[in-house]
């Protein structure tokens, strides 16, 4: 079933790789802005390999948060048009020109208490610009 939330979840052309790992952009798969406290990175696989939560972080606005810390970010809002930057620290991924990314985002819309909404997609991205290490 085609749906823009799924289609745009992993942003085309956004893959950046480095010796430390990789970065790619994700879009908030909802129709409105949400605080990061209601966003959860449910599952991430790179080239079929499950990435541990501790190796994943997400940046929207100016601040980067570890995937485990998102639940506390009540004040940091993800504006619905802004891409979020997912960073994966995984030095053992090895260089490859095409990377398979499989991502599930869980949302907990704050006006529908109790609802968990899962959006999942898988894409093959070709590495573009090198990741700036900051």
């Amino acid at each position: 079933m085609p749906n823009l939330f799924t289609e745009q979840l992993i942003v085309d052309g956004s893959l950046r790789v480095s010796p430390q790992g990789l970065e790619f952009d994700v879009r908030l798969p909802w129709y409105r802005s949400l605080p990061l406290s209601t966003v959860e990175i449910g599952e991430l696989r790179i080239d079929g390999k499950a990435i541990p939560t501790d190796a994943i972080s997400l940046q929207v606005n100016e601040r980067r948060h570890g995937a485990r810390d998102l639940a506390d970010q009540v004040e940091d809002w993800w504006y619905v048009l802004d891409p979020g930057r997912v960073r994966v620290l995984a030095p053992d991924l090895g260089p490859s020109s095409v990377t398979d990314i499989e991502l599930a985002i869980h949302l907990y819309p704050p006006y529908i208490p109790g609802l968990q909404w899962v959006i999942r997609n898988k894409k093959s991205l070709r590495a573009g610009a090198a990741l700036e290490t900051t």
């Binding site: 079933m1 085609p2 409105r32 208490p113």
Partner: protein
Amino acid sequence: MTDGAATAAAPALKLGSTLFSYTNAFLRLDHSFEQLLAQIAARGLGPGVEVIGFQSIRGFPTVTDEFAQRFRELVATHRLEPSCLAINGDVALRRGTRMTTEESVAYHEPQLRAAAKLGFPLVRYQFTASPEVIRQLVPLAERLGVKMGLEIHAPQGVHTPEVLAYREMYARVQSPSLGFIPDFGASARGVPPPYLDILRAQGTPPELIAAALEIWATDDQAPSKRQRLVEVAQGRLDPLKLSALAVIFNMFSPQPAAAWLEIMPQVIHIHGKFYGFDAAGSEPCIPYEELLPVFAKAGFNGFMSSEWEGHMYSLDDGFDMVAQHHALCRRILASSLLPA
């Protein structure tokens, strides 16, 4: 809105768009907020414009002076009319917790002020804002001259216990700032085919979909419908698919059109929910031919926002869908005002 000659016979119910209908165009970055307003004007999909604060406005509920001024310029230029600001009762900002009444009141206050600053006459609020929260907001709403309308969305109806709690509070408080916003998904005559397609694509057996549709059409409340479905499924469906199937009880419900008459004096705005059209241009699942005459004949003279929820199952930008919806509604409104 009308071209002079037709004014005398013009229906009082006014049409418009909610920007929710164009979610795909906005999220794809095809159309900015300003371009959406321009498109609505160019295609005649106004004059009413409903905006979702947390969708269209970066930093909402903070609204900068620049944004407010630009918005007022745009609606004036395009001859649109701000009809409703959709606000949210985000009581579970922290997962698994609920705001207190005091916190929730404080969360809604800036949203009401945003509506006044942008020139919206009313806000749409949600069930997560309890009757007590709304009661405490009345003085501010009256001071701002902004009405607050509870969106009565499926599976709620004019007689469900949750709605009765607001009706009782409204009767006690007697404020002109208090109203209701029917969402026509609560007056469906069937479940929209795109949702059934999603269920089939997920591998839900056709006989269970058929059973769910039979249960859907009964007068039971959503929780008992769900319970009956669980009994019928008897473990034949995994929990995720069962939940997806049971969602139809919450998204659409079959309240008769005339039921809205009971709260008609308090109706301040309408969400004209729709999903698609048959070959004759009619909405197969929402009986507009029954609904609109009920509101028109009762003298409802507010706006109805055409609300297409197609971004859940389609990549369409929504403009042609709303145009078809407006054509259908104009036809019905014109004939419902003819002498019997």
